[in-house]
């Protein structure tokens, strides 16, 4: 375990969190959140945020309870060896699949909109090779890379919705009322996946500097993601209207296309946006897969060499997995099903862990008090 000092600062944790959360899903969010809620679609990221915040709070609590340990160590400690091992296994598997889906989605975007003559495989392979290169380094490199790439994410994700508001028709946002609360709940449960990526903090919190403010880091990250999502959805609805949004595969990309006035010296921006967006997608996939491979390394208590070899070996099945959905429709339905599984793993498991740990602490306190009494 050489070179694994706890040296992640608060800002590094924040940037890890932001860049793990914001990835490909921002490209589809104006559509997915307006399917049921229509013009009130901008509520759904807020609901998703509330749901995810519960899990984030649980993870922060766990991070404070078990400083310096990743989920690989604390899950078995809370749930017992067998159940804990199952949870660890599920978690690793989930990250693995999630990264695969993200890679495939981004590959589809790039191939359909920017590089029409490039095979999908080439885009996915290069992206995965990049991740392998990241996995060849120690974990502190991940934090620094996230920190360096965060401007590539912050600027476009805030600028594009704001600039596209120039074409907005604000009446698209009216009427201001909720038709069905069941739909609100449904969409909320679906759109929390926008925030998946926060669960990686169960790995990265272990390397926080003693004294780093975990709560502040995760709060900043969550609120930033919330703002970005809400203004993106608002911009999408205001520019296109919810009916037109249903017919757009990548609404956020269309937002850039309709924004003509930004071209001072470049005529169209979507290629540039996607090129810059590579950085943010890379950090999402990279953080997920790094966490996966790193937790395998922790599980088997091996060194950096093991991690490098595992990275290379696991990329091969992952690459073939990304090619399983035949087309983009199948990919979207697959993603939909995956959301339900994700709900279990990224929301319920952390919350259950936190509750169990909390109860355990209460019992221990009582026992300690009793012991003290017995002693005197």
């Amino acid at each position: 375990m050489e070179n694994q000092q706890r040296n992640f600062g608060t800002w590094q944790l924040t940037s890890i969190m932001i860049s793990s959360m914001i990835g490909v899903s921002i490209l589809t969010i104006p559509r997915t959140s307006t399917v049921l809620l229509h013009q009130m679609g901008w509520i759904s990221p807020i609901l998703g945020c509330l749901l995810a915040s519960l899990a984030v709070a649980a993870i922060v609590y766990l991070g404070k309870q078990f400083p310096g340990t990743t989920f690989v160590e604390f899950m078995p400690r809370i749930f017992g060896t067998v159940l804990g091992a199952i949870c660890v296994f599920l978690f690793i598997l989930y990250q693995f699949f999630n990264a695969g889906i993200t890679a495939r989605l981004f590959g589809e975007v790039v191939v359909t909109s920017v590089l029409p003559n490039t095979p999908l495989e080439a885009v996915i392979i290069t992206l995965l090779l990049l991740v392998v290169f990241l996995c060849c380094h120690e974990i502190e490199v991940v934090a620094r890379v996230n920190e360096l790439l965060i401007p590539f994410l912050l600027l476009p994700s805030l600028l594009i919705p704001l600039v596209s508001l120039m074409n907005a028709d604000w009446y698209n946002l009216l009427p201001f009322q909720i038709e069905s609360w069941t739909n609100v709940m449904k969409t909320g449960l679906n759109t929390y996946t926008l925030y998946t990526g926060y669960e990686l903090l169960m790995v990265y919190f272990a390397f926080a500097i003693p004294g780093a403010r975990l709560g502040v880091a995760s709060m900043t990250g969550m609120s930033f993601a919330l703002i970005v999502y809400v203004i993106t959805v608002v911009a999408g609805i205001a520019v296109f209207g919810y009916e037109e949004l249903q017919r757009l595969v990548w609404p956020t990309l269309e937002l850039i296309k309709v924004t003509q006035k930004t071209g001072w010296f470049l005529e169209r921006f979507e290629s540039a946006f996607l090129a810059i967006w590579v950085a943010s997608v890379f950090t999402t996939i990279g953080n997920m897969l790094y966490a996966t491979i790193f937790s395998l390394r922790r599980l088997f208590r091996k060194g950096l060499r093991f991690q490098q070899i595992t990275a290379i070996v696991t990329m091969v099945p992952l690459f073939f997995l990304t090619l399983v959905p035949k087309n983009i429709v199948e990919l979207f339905s697959f993603t939909q099903q995956f959301t339900t599984v994700g709900l279990l793993i990224t929301i319920f498991i952390p919350i259950l862990l936190a509750i169990t740990q909390f109860i355990r602490n209460q019992f221990n306190n009582v026992r300690e008090v009793n012991n003290e009494k017995g002693g005197t």
Binding site: V114, F133, V145, L148, L149, L266, F269, A275, A279
Partner: protein, 512 residues
């Protein structure tokens, strides 16, 4: 797999130790470490035996005032002859002077043959007197040295004009002259089994982080090589990552830059025989920071820094952006320009990647040739190059006019970096990114940039992360990263070098 690696590593180590044995046999260690006798002639024979038939070894025999036989041994050309004749020979032979030792400014006594040989080789005159077992080692070093001139590689508009020269003690004096601090420490080392090169490690005690200084010294001590002809030998042998294209130790010809860096808690490594002084640790900011930034007012300094950053990005990316735009994303270029570009390219038979590679290669050849050419012909090659590569290539339909502009801007951009060795790294990385742009367009460029960023974030120079203070983020350090804040705001030294004395400026002494 891991067994294979272990076996490979073992073999590598075995080869290394074998090589080490081979050359240590031939080095200074081969001089038998005997002691001198009391007989002059025997001693002379002992010394001459070490040098073999060496015609520039001068042995001058004379009689001292007490009628004892004496001899002085030195190497012609490395000593100051006036000192020897006036202050050693005349001093020792004039009966009026009662003082017995030679009147040189540095005098040592020894009877060890190895030390005597080493001193003769470094320009000392050795005085042997009959009946005395100890030999006098007189410091008579004095050979023709280049005077202190303006540095060739790092010129500034405002700032001192003196640069380092090839002599170690002069270089050390140039630093001392600017930093009259008793805490300035100098550690002397000798590296190079055959060249016996002197090395000074300089640091300011009380500012520099002691473990870092020790690390530098330990790494220099661990260098076993037969020759050190330039500080680049040391640089490449003590750097953290040997396979990285980025310089992890800074080099400079400017004493003011060294002093500024010593005051930031870094360590200077002076190598005899070269005007290039090493500064460790180095961070990424060396690519675009120049000492001049601190001499000009801060608005201008900040602006110039930003211009340098832009020009470095141009030097790295412009040709590949051209390739990406013209072959993958023509829709991004404004429509009138794209028509003009297409018209220019209509006669060009090659894809834009080949076109760009051709032009870049031509300009690299020109640049290398103009460095090697004798002075008076230098400007000629510029004119020939500009005519042939620029105008004629366009007329012949080999390249498009836009490409000529791009190559010109790229080349000029790469000269804007104040550090030559950093600029070379950028110049070299331009080629892989061009290939990637030819394959994947903007996506390829971004992939390459991410690879570079991952590599940069994994780099460390003597324990200091290469990208600091940008990553890990340090807001205090950012005041002197992209912008140059006014001096009254730079009250503390940069923290990333673990400085011991944090304040540069005290609050109460200065006008707010």
């Amino acid at each position: 797999m891991s067994q294979f690696f272990q076996a490979w590593q073992k073999r590598k180590e075995a080869l290394q130790s074998k090589a080490l044995e081979q050359y240590t046999n031939k080095s200074m260690e081969s001089v038998s470490d005997v002691t001198l006798t009391t007989n002059v002639e025997e001693n002379i024979q002992l010394i001459e035996a070490q040098f073999g038939k060496c015609d520039d070894l001068v042995v001058r025999r004379f009689q001292t005032k007490s009628k004892a036989q004496a001899a002085i041994v030195f190497i012609d050309g490395m000593v100051d002859r006036n000192v020897i004749s006036d202050f050693i020979i005349r001093y020792m032979t004039t009966p009026d002077i009662t003082y017995h030792d030679p009147a040189t400014n540095e005098l040592d006594l020894t009877d060890k043959l190895r030390q005597i040989v080493r001193n003769i080789l470094s320009g000392c005159a050795v005085l042997i007197i009959d009946g005395c077992q100890n030999a006098y080692l007189n410091n008579t070093r004095g050979w023709d040295r280049r005077s202190v001139e303006e540095p060739q590689t790092e010129s500034v508009v405002r700032g001192p004009r003196d640069g380092f020269c090839e002599t170690l003690c002069v270089n050390a004096a140039l630093i001392r002259f600017r930093l009259k601090d008793p805490n300035l420490r100098v550690r002397h080392m000798v590296v190079g089994e055959r060249t016996q090169t002197d090395i000074y490690v300089m640091y300011v005690d009380g500012i520099a982080y002691p473990p870092m200084v020790e690390e530098v010294i330990a790494r220099i001590e661990s260098v076993h090589v037969d020759s050190v002809l330039e500080s680049g030998y040391i640089e490449q042998m003590i750097q953290d990552r040997r396979w990285s294209p980025f310089p992890q130790i800074q080099n400079t010809e400017r004493p003011d830059k060294v002093v500024a860096n010593l005051l930031e808690g870094k360590v200077g490594i002076l190598v005899d025989g070269t005007p290039f002084v090493l500064i460790a640790p180095a961070v990424f900011s060396q690519f675009y920071q120049s000492p001049e930034d601190y001499y000009e007012r801060f608005y201008i300094a900040t602006l110039i820094r930003l211009i340098r950053i832009i020009s470095i990005s141009i030097a790295l990316l412009l040709p590949s952006l051209y390739i990406a735009f013209s072959s993958f994303h023509p829709e991004m270029i404004p429509s009138r320009l794209v028509i003009a570009m297409a018209a220019g390219r209509s006669t060009v038979p090659f894809p834009s990647l080949i076109e760009a590679l051709f032009m870049e290669l031509a300009i690299e050849i020109l640049r290398e040739a103009s460095v090697r050419l004798p002075g008076p012909i230098g400007p000629t090659i510029g004119i020939v190059g500009a005519l042939v590569v620029g105008e004629a290539a366009v007329t012949a339909g080999l390249v498009s006019p836009v490409m000529v502009i791009i190559v010109a801007v790229t080349t000029i951009g790469s000269f804007a970096s104040p550090s030559y060795s950093a600029a070379i790294a950028i110049r070299m990385l331009r080629f892989p990114v061009m290939f990637l742009a030819g394959m994947f367009g903007l996506y390829g460029i971004m992939l390459f940039l991410i690879v570079i960023l991952i590599h940069l974030s994994s780099l460390k120079s003597f324990g200091v992360p290469y990208m600091s203070p940008l990553s890990p983020l340090n807001l205090t350090g950012m005041k002197d990263m992209f912008i140059r804040a006014p001096h009254h705001l730079l009250k503390t030294r940069p923290m990333m070098f673990h400085v011991q004395d944090k304040t540069r400026m005290r609050e109460e002494d200065n006008r707010k």
